[in-house]
Symmetry: C2
Subunit: 279 residues, 2 copies
Amino acid sequence: MNIGIVGLGLIGGSLGLDLRQVGFKVLGVSRHQHTCELAIARGVADDASVAFSLLAAADIVFICTPIASIVPTVKIIIPHLSPATILTDVGSVKTPVVEAITPIWSNFVGGHPMAGTTQSGIDAAQRQLFAGRPYVLTPVASTLPASLQTLCEIARSLQARVYHCSPSDHDRAVALISHLPVMVSASLIDACMVDPAVLKLVQQLASSGFRDTSRVGGGNPELGLMMAQYNRPELLRSLHNYRHSLDQMISHIQQEDWTALARILQQTQLARSQFTDFE
Amino acid sequence: MNIGIVGLGLIGGSLGLDLRQVGFKVLGVSRHQHTCELAIARGVADDASVAFSLLAAADIVFICTPIASIVPTVKIIIPHLSPATILTDVGSVKTPVVEAITPIWSNFVGGHPMAGTTQSGIDAAQRQLFAGRPYVLTPVASTLPASLQTLCEIARSLQARVYHCSPSDHDRAVALISHLPVMVSASLIDACMVDPAVLKLVQQLASSGFRDTSRVGGGNPELGLMMAQYNRPELLRSLHNYRHSLDQMISHIQQEDWTALARILQQTQLARSQFTDFE
C-alpha cells in the first residue's frame, strides 16, 4: 500500500519514518526541493517531490501541513488523486477541517495524532513519536467504515492509543485539556506582572509550582493564537466554565467558607488522579 | 553557638542536619519522645527533648511547626528562653506571624526557607534541602540589625539564596507565585469535570500540558486550605488581578482581536523567561 504525505515537518516526517518501518511505501511531497532530498536521504520517504502528481499513486494521503494550510492544500491536490484515495489530516482542531473537506472529498477521515516536541521541521522528525500517545480519529455519518478501519489499523501500527469521537467532542475535549491550559497559564504570568512593587521578588522566589503552572502560558505565541482562532467556540465555552469555577473559589475564600474550599480541593486532587496518561 | 529547633519534621529536621554539619550545637524539641530519639540517632540534633526547658541554653530558636502552631508555640516557650535569645520561624506566610510575635518577643525575625518535598516528618529530613533555594527574611522597623545579620549568615551557611523584604511584600509575592497557582490550577481541574459528555475523552487525551498546569491544583488539599486561610487578603488580591487578566483574554478571543491576544502571549513568553530559578 502506498501512503502519500504532504508536508514533511515534525509530524509528516515522523509518520514517514514509522510507516516505512512497518512496510508501507511512502511518497512525500514538500514545497521545498531541499526537504524532498533530505526526506529520501533520512528514510522519511521512498520517493519525494515538490510535484503533487506524485500522489496519483497513493492509496492514502496524510495532510501534515500547518492547520491554516490543510483545506487549501486539499483543494490543490484533489485533481491529482485517484478516486479511491483515502484522505486524512493531522490538524489539532477538527470541526472546521472536517466540515470544509467532507463536501469536496467524501472519502476523508479527520485525524489528530497528539504527539509533538518543541521542535519543528524535518530535522525534528523522529521514530516512535506516536508510540503510547493518543491518536484521535473523527468520523462523521458519511465516513466509509472501511476507510476508518484502515486508518485505525495504520494508527495502531504506530503503537498509538487510538480513539474515535465526533469532531465536536474532539474539539471540546482538546479545548479543555490543551487550549484552556494555555490561556489559564498565560493569564497567571500576566497577573504576576501587574504589581511592580514585588515584581523583582516574584521573579526571584518563583519555583517549581509557578514553573509548572506557567509553562504552557510561556510557550510559542503562534500556537496559542492558532488554538484560539481555530477552536474559538469551544475555547470560549471552556473559558466560561473555567471562570465559573474560579469565581466559586474566590467566593469561598472571600466568605471564609473553608469547608466548601476544602471540598473543592479534595475533589480536584481525586479528579486529577483519574487521568490516563500521567502519574 | 547553640541553636534550638522546635518541631523536628521535614524543615526542622533538615535544618538540624545542616546546622550541625556547619558546626552549630543543635537542641531539638518535639512533642513526641520517639521523634526526639530519632533526631539524635540520625544526627538531626545533639540533644533532644519533649521539654521546652532544653531551649534555655539556645542562642537562637527556630520555630518549625505547622503555621497554625507557630504563635501558640512561641507563647509556650517564652518562659523558658534566656532574654537575649533570637527567635525565628519558617512559616510560609509572614504578616500574621510577625504581627503576633513581635509584641511578645521583640528579638524576633520572621523567616521563610522556600524548600520542601511532597514528604513530611523527620523521616523526610535531608541534608542540603535549602541549598540553592530562596530563604526570605522579613525584618520590620523594630528588628535588631545584629539579629538579622546573624540569621542572614546562618541562612547563607545552608547555601540558600537569602532575600530580605517586608512581611507584606513577602506575602504578596508568595500569593502570586505559590498560592495563586494552586487556585488557578485547581479551577482548571474543576472546569474539566463539568462536562460529562466529554469527561472520559478528556481523561484519555490529557497529556503534558494539562499535567503540568494541573499539578499543584491536584496537590494536598490541606496545604491549599492553609494558604487561603493564612494569606487570605493577598491571595484575594492576586485572584482579582488574575481574573482581570483572564477577562481581558476572554474578551480578545470573543472579539477576535487576534493582534491583542498575540501581544499578550508574546509578553507572557518574554516575561516567563525572566524568572530566576528555572530554565
